[in-house]
């Protein structure tokens, strides 16, 4: 039986290259066009990041010097730098244990129902605008005590860090290999010894990573600190008074509209952005290495 050659007789030239024509050509061109669009979108996002960091680096480089980092106002930002470090440190000291405990609860104890409740609570907390958290701490501490204080700011930052640390730790705890858990169960190790002696040590790298990412986020938070630690009486490090800090300093300088102030604000921005990018890039690299090791 002879098959009929479908191309024969219709001007089919078997030697010509196979190029689509007509409708197919149009479809392929459109597909190419959308591919190009998606690539351009990604390039735009990277370009925006590049432009912001480049501007901050170029304009801030003139202001940043050893003197800028180690003297107080009006020439430097030493007090603000120490203040931010102190506030973030207190916040992390509050948020990290609570966050890790929540993660342990969700992994070790919670049933599906309470797990869902906790997930919702953490997501809602994470989604709260930071200025709302500022208002909350203002109403909770600053208004009754009639005194702005860095400690209130630290609590606000702790609330911001908490869901990040808890969700991050939970993800790492989920990655702990099941046979480690089973081995400790099989040896008759009690639950708390298993958690403290086996599960936490193997997840500690990931927990630290999640914490560093949360710190990077908290270090740049301005809105809550603006409400509870912005009227500086002096260069103090007492957490129960308002302490100067980098984000609020940048905010005030940017609102003043004074060129010399702008210069200092660019310098402070460069220092802040450098710390944050360094911390989050480092944490990400650590996380990738950790994941690799644990999934092996």
């Amino acid at each position: 039986m002879n098959a009929v050659d479908p191309g024969a007789g219709a001007g089919f030239d078997p030697t010509s290259p196979l190029t689509p024509s007509g409708n197919l050509r149009r479809r392929q061109l459109f597909s190419r066009f959308t591919e190009a669009g998606a690539t351009v979108a990604a390039l735009v996002a990277i370009a925006v990041l590049g432009i912001v960091i480049y501007t901050v680096a170029v304009r801030g480089a003139g202001a940043v010097s050893w003197e800028f980092l180690t003297t107080d106002e009006p020439t430097g930002i030493r007090a603000a730098l120490l203040g931010t470090a102190e506030i973030v440190l207190i916040a992390t000291a509050i948020a990290m244990p609570i966050g890790v405990l929540i993660a342990i609860y969700m992994i070790e104890f919670a049933g599906p129902r309470s797990n869902r409740v906790m997930k919702t609570v953490l997501d809602l907390t994470n989604g709260l605008p930071s200025i709302i958290i500022g208002l909350f701490v203002f109403g909770l501490l600053v208004k009754p005590l009639q005194e702005q204080m860095a400690f209130a700011g630290a609590i606000a930052l702790a609330i911001i860090e908490l869901p990040l640390i808890a969700r991050g730790s939970q993800e790492v705890l989920l990655l702990v290999p099941g046979n480690l858990r089973e081995a400790s169960d099989a040896l008759g190790v009690s639950r708390w010894r298993g958690v403290v002696g086996v599960i936490l040590p193997s997840a500690i790298g990931g927990i630290v990573t999640a914490t560093v990412l949360a710190v990077a986020r908290a270090a740049g938070e301005t809105a809550p600190l603006l409400l509870v630690s912005s009227v500086f009486k002096g260069l103090t490090l007492n957490p129960f008074e308002a302490i100067p800090n980098i984000p609020v300093t940048i905010y005030f300088l940017s609102e003043e509209g004074n060129p010399a102030g702008f210069e200092r604000a660019w310098g402070a921005s460069l220092v802040l952005i450098a710390i944050i990018l360094f911390a989050s890039l480092g944490a990400r690299a650590l996380l990738a290495r950790n994941r690799e090791r644990m999934s092996r």
Partner: protein, 329 residues
């Protein structure tokens, strides 16, 4: 039955004091661990409830004075004790929706690029860079916004849009400074993109490859695979991601107050100054003295809190429905 009499008793003594002690410690330890973990969870729940309570409590003088009329009244005059959030709610919605209109398609396109087009090595570099956009503190983005973006927008983009699309009322004549709702929207767009892009990338990556291969095998082009398979099966997740992004934009305070120019009238043009709920709180709270002024700012916070919680729950609900649908398949 033989019973050798001389075999020594090798069974452990029934009451070993140290084993008993160990068991007691373990029992206490287990209880303690459970108790401490449960306490931490309760603490987080109580904190969330307390946040709602404190914000509503702080607003109560304004709520009892202005009632729901606060939401529609557009006059905001601290000197006369006259407060209404109408123009702020309008400004919040206007700037955020415009930002979402601009940001969501861009972010979805980025998500598609990362999941469908980019080779793994490129994805490994571009993904963290896009997420890095979210790591830039809003105060720095806002500062960059006033000094770099606003003048550029005012000199180049606004006149262009006014000349070409000026027949639309939202593209009115540019103002003298670049501080405008438009500039604020652009800054918000930058903040929305990393959130929506990274969520939609994960959604697209989770679409089973054999379904996509099937479509390709039937002759679909790459775009047709995306249009016919990837997007329909992830659409509710993308909507949820966009709502999360919108929530972020609605609640952003610092960057917005830096670039939006603190206007207090409702204007149809994007190029005029305006203000948002969060921006007004950040701008006026440090200087607010009268109790009613502070309470009114808290009232703005209540509105913001309601919007934030509702949008977040909505996104979670849509996302969960999506994952159920996915699991049922």
């Amino acid at each position: 039955m033989l019973e050798p009499a001389s075999v020594p008793d090798v069974r452990p003594p029934r009451r070993d004091r140290s084993a008993e002690r160990l068991r007691r410690i373990d029992r206490i330890g287990d209880g303690l661990l459970y108790g401490v973990c449960a306490f931490a969870c309760l603490l987080s729940i109580v904190t969330l409830l307390l946040i709602v309570y404190e914000v509503v409590n702080g607003a109560s003088p304004a709520i009892s004075k202005f009632g729901l009329g606060f939401l529609t009244n557009t006059t905001w005059q601290p000197n006369f004790g006259e407060f209404g959030a109408g123009s702020l709610i309008f400004g919040t919605a206007f700037s955020s929706f415009f930002a979402l209109l601009l940001g969501a398609p861009l972010a979805v396109a980025i998500g598609l690029f990362l999941s469908e087009l980019a080779p793994k090595s490129v994805r490994g570099i571009v993904s963290p860079l896009v997420e890095m956009l979210a790591a830039i503190p809003s105060v720095i983005l806002g500062f960059w916004g006033i000094l770099v973006l606003a003048p550029f927008v005012q000199k180049n983009i606004e006149p262009f849009l006014h000349d070409t699309l000026g027949f639309l009322p939202i593209f009115g004549p540019p103002q003298t400074t670049g501080a405008s709702v438009f500039t604020a929207s652009l800054i918000l767009t930058v903040m929305i993109i990393p959130i929506v892009a990274s969520i939609s990338r994960d959604l697209f990556l989770a679409v089973p490859p054999d379904v996509q291969d099937g479509a390709s095998a039937l002759g679909a082009t790459r775009w047709e695979v995306v249009r016919g398979v990837v997007l329909p099966s992830t659409s509710s997740g993308v909507v949820a991601a966009s709502i999360l992004g919108l929530g972020r934009a609605l609640g952003e305070a610092i960057a917005v107050t830096q670039v939006i120019g603190a206007g207090s009238e409702i204007k149809a043009s994007l190029f005029e100054t305006g203000d948002t709920l969060a921006g007004r709180i950040a701008n006026q709270f440090p200087g607010a003295i009268t109790e009613l002024h502070i309470a009114s700012l808290f009232y703005c916070g209540v509105v913001l809190l309601v919007i934030g919680l509702v949008s977040n729950l909505l996104a979670q609900w849509i996302g969960r429905r999506f994952s159920y649908a996915q699991a049922a398949k």
